[in-house]
Symmetry: C2
Subunit: 270 residues, 2 copies
């Protein structure tokens, strides 16, 4: 198996995301090693040795995806026997040419604390999601960007948190419970914020599987209960013209981006 090293003088998250995207097109397994915060020559040299050792041991030339700003440290890594893919610098030169502006590597702060406002927006959104999770309170819905609705365990909470962390968006979520569904009516707090509602639904078998893992052999996780709740909730979404998506075959990222696309709500942080 080939080993892939993600090497950076920062968090290496950019190198990881980049590497995943490229390697996901190859029908091979890879051994993955992340090496963040390579900030001095000693550490760079140690990583170089580790890369070369990996080559000797496996007999397969390692791949190195790196985003190292300092050229001395970068040169140490690229002098290893791996094949090195320089994700940043490959694009910096043509962009410099297009813009007629020199890049200043020192200002590179991709996953650093770019600015206080950005940071506060994000943390406020996380706090908002937590305080308004699972219908805990409905008093702060005026401040919501989006209110996710759906049955218990259809994916509302992870989606709320992802939208908060990644995009700084304030997402409340409200679980439809038996009573709401029997009456087929929106609770009052939701009616007042109808334009913010977005529904999630899920395949009944998948829902049952998820609920079984939480609470095996209960009424809550019974197949009939899952089917009943989802049938009712989808009827309610249609009656009330609430946009909704099926989460069954989508990752949290896909669900989040689809919601932004459908609602047109802009990212608060980029």
């Amino acid at each position: 198996m080939h080993t892939v090293f993600y090497v950076s003088d920062g968090t290496a998250i950019t190198a990881e995301v980049f590497g995943h995207a490229v390697l996901s097109q190859f029908p091979l397994p890879f051994e993955q090693v992340t090496v963040p915060f390579v900030g001095d020559e000693g550490k760079a040299q140690a990583i170089k040795d580790k890369i070369n050792d990996s080559y000797r041991q496996s007999g397969k030339q390692p791949l190195v995806f790196h985003t190292i700003v300092d050229s001395t440290l970068r040169n140490i890594i690229t002098s290893s026997e791996a094949k090195c893919y320089d994700f940043l610098n490959t694009f910096v030169a043509p962009i410099e040419q297009q813009l007629g502006v020199k890049a200043d590597p020192r200002i590179n702060r991709t996953h650093g604390m770019e600015n206080r406002k950005h940071y506060d927006t994000r943390i406020d959104a996380v706090n908002y999601a937590l305080e308004n999770d699972d219908g805990m309170t409905t008093k702060a819905y005026d401040e919501a960007d989006i209110i996710l609705v759906g049955v218990s365990r259809c994916g509302k909470t992870p989606t709320s948190l992802y939208l908060a962390l990644q995009f700084g968006i304030r997402v409340a979520n409200y679980p439809f419970i038996d009573q709401d569904m029997q009456q087929m009516e929106l609770p009052k707090a939701l009616k007042a914020n109808r334009h913010k509602l977005f529904g999630l639904t899920i395949d009944p078998n998948r829902l049952q599987e998820i609920r079984q893992r939480r609470m095996a052999n209960s009424g809550y996780s019974a197949a009939a209960q899952c089917r009943y709740e989802l049938g009712q909730v989808e009827r309610l979404f249609r009656m009330e013209a609430i946009p909704f998506i099926d989460t069954t075959y989508h990752s949290v990222e896909e669900i989040s981006v689809k919601i932004l696309e459908r609602t047109g709500i802009p990212r608060r942080i980029y």
Copy 2:
């Protein structure tokens, strides 16, 4: 101002991360537009028109960062008048050559639901973080990968959630309160899991600022209280040999990756 378009047939998250990393080296502001799920020729053509309109209106040639797998759709986008940067394909050919294996673009599922196990690991970690947030319960610490400790509002919760969502790691967090700090002793539940403890601390002025935004002019947000709590907690960290880091000047990503680096805990998902 130049406009940057992030265009993808998926979530466009890879294109965004990539674009941010490269553009963060340029001392210029950019107008950013994300266009996800470009899945058919009609949509691709509409985006092409939008890109060209943007050029005409601003007089500045737009930048397009794209990760489009389908070559027909990709050709529509790259026939726009923008400068297009093809992040995936730039690297695919040399990697094919290194590996001696052809890429199969159809299997590209960077931010899709790669597999059920991956998905469950992540959602379980998010649930774990929520259920074990803020010392709510200490009964499930046996299942924790890490237990973050520190005073209220030093960054424990966002870090726990980020580690769960990004890396599938199970993180509990426990706030040191007055009583713990007066006695300068670890609560029993923490003692039993001492090897999992990781401390966060923060600059007293920054802590005060954060607490003021939550609860202005309270004892909780008084400068003296913040200084007292942080002084005590850092003494406790040292006495008990708990590794800790200062969160003041670091993003959630940086804190998370530093914790993984210091503890050596492997990512559960990549």
